[in-house]
């Protein structure tokens, strides 16, 4: 089975955190312990949405030392393809679900002298696990968390109550901005920088750090892309000898899975590289949306990341 392997769980708590965010707690249905994980890890939650199966990645935000339960926070996306709406509308305590083993694509680099974290909005969730992990080993960290306003800044008050000296909050509605340049300037040698938040914020942080001479290896980011919708298209799977249709709101990966073909994946968000698939033949245009392949590979027409990328044209034949 592809992905991180499945664990049957029961939803044991659903909490409305604010107007946009709900928190879910999962425990193993058989009562055992969950696998250990490290801060920054995510799990892929499987949803049976009345005929459509959805698999969405969410960062684990509970303390990695606690394997009795996992918690995630889900921001409702009214414009999205429906995964977050399903979680918000239909998931109730007592419900049986299936989640993947944890996978970490955003781990702390524990060689760092100091961890400088920058979060935007729901991007706070991976840092919750990382901070729990770091405070257990007295690791040095600093969190700079930006949100629209205090009401929407999930977990901000508990974080600043617990770590008053390390946590710094910024609210757009009060015109508060992170002074990134100043912040990066004074950091001791050996500091690692982590950013999770909206696309624009990630690009801003990475570019500013690069211009200031920060080594690439010391700058970490995580951004899950939601698979974009698009025109339906047809694909031939050469190995399994099947012709499949990819629907408007379906990803290519989901269509392959729906046809009963096992395809590799981990993040389902264009960043881990696991789903990389060879193109055997094509006549048309690729709509690449991943962060994995290089520009040359995008132009080359030999590879596609089916979790987020699409195709428009006459024929597409994949080695799957």
């Amino acid at each position: 089975m592809s992905g991180g392997g499945k664990i049957p769980v029961t939803v044991t708590e659903v909490v409305r955190v604010n107007e946009l965010i709900k928190r879910f707690k999962f425990e193993r249905s058989d009562g055992g312990l969950l696998p250990t994980f490290s801060g920054g890890a995510h799990t892929v939650v499987e949803m049976q949405d009345y005929g459509t199966s959805r698999l969405n990645p969410y960062s684990l935000m509970s303390d990695p030392a606690d394997t009795s339960a996992y918690t995630i926070s889900v921001r409702r996306d009214d414009e999205g393809r429906g995964g977050s709406l399903f979680m918000h509308r239909h998931v109730r305590p007592g419900m049986e679900m299936s989640i993947s083993n944890p996978v970490n694509l955003f781990p702390l680099d524990l060689r760092a002298r100091k961890h400088l974290m920058i979060a935007g909005g729901i991007g706070i969730t991976p840092f919750m696990g990382q901070i729990a992990q770091l405070s257990a080993i007295s690791g040095r960290f600093e969190l700079h968390y930006a949100a629209r306003n205090p009401a929407l800044a999930a977990y901000a008050s508990e974080l600043s109550a617990r770590y008053p000296r390390q946590v710094h909050l910024y609210f757009d509605d009060y015109d508060q901005r992170i002074d990134l340049q100043g912040l990066l300037d004074g950091q001791p040698l050996g500091t690692h920088l982590y950013v999770c938040g909206p696309k624009g914020m990630i690009a801003w942080v990475r570019n500013t750090a690069e211009a200031a001479g920060w080594p690439r290896e010391a700058v970490h980011h995580e951004e899950f892309l939601a698979p974009p919708s698009g025109k339906p298209f047809e694909v031939k799977l050469a190995v399994s000898n099947k012709v499949i249709q990819v629907g408007e709101h379906q990803s290519l990966l989901e269509a392959i899975e729906a046809a009963g073909v096992d395809a590799p994946y981990l993040c389902r968000g264009g960043c881990c590289g696991q789903c990389e698939t060879d193109v055997i033949d094509y006549d048309g245009t690729f709509l690449h949306n991943d962060h994995w392949l290089s520009e040359e590979q995008h132009a080359g027409g030999k590879k596609i990341m089916p979790c987020v990328s699409r195709f428009e044209g006459k024929t597409l034949v994949l080695d799957r």
């Binding site: 950091q187 050996g190 500091t191 001479g213 080594p215």
Partner: protein, 203 residues
Amino acid sequence: MSKSVLEPSIPSRPVYGELAPRSGKAHLFIADAEGAEAILDMAKTAPDGFFARAHIIYIPKATGERYLERLESLDPGQLYFGPSYEAALPRLRRTLADAHMGLQVYLAGTEGLMGRAMQEATEAGIPHTAIQSEHRGSTARRVQCVHCKGITEEVTTDPFQCSHCGLHLFVRDHYSRRLAAFMGVCIDAEDPGDIPEPVERFT
């Protein structure tokens, strides 16, 4: 003149590039002997004002006064000439301890110097892949005897005699970043006394 071409070898053998100016908040150079040429060559492509935020730690060794004036004319923010790496070490350590992110590190010269300075810089928290290095001058090696663990500097022949325990050692390309040294292994362990003539492999 003394740009060194090193033969391709096993993956653990360090490879060196060519120094190029990078954007950063401060620039730290550590060089010895002909390594000065790498700095002078790089200076030709450096943007205006680059050296004002540079600190050069230079150990001339046998080159004596040859490069000193030219290095001075770069007008670096700080310039230090030292008689030996050991003498320069406290200054290097203090510089790294006070440094902030955005510091770029450039190493140039012999492998022994670059390896040891690399050790200090990575210990201070800079990923080794982010440190630039350019090999110039002597290819003499710093070798650790795997038997007595003693380190012999400036090894030019293979085999050579360990300066600590006296065993005759074969010089491998196997390199330890932690020790900043190549590995030397007893050459006559199977047939004591059967020691090949030493060959000048490193000059």
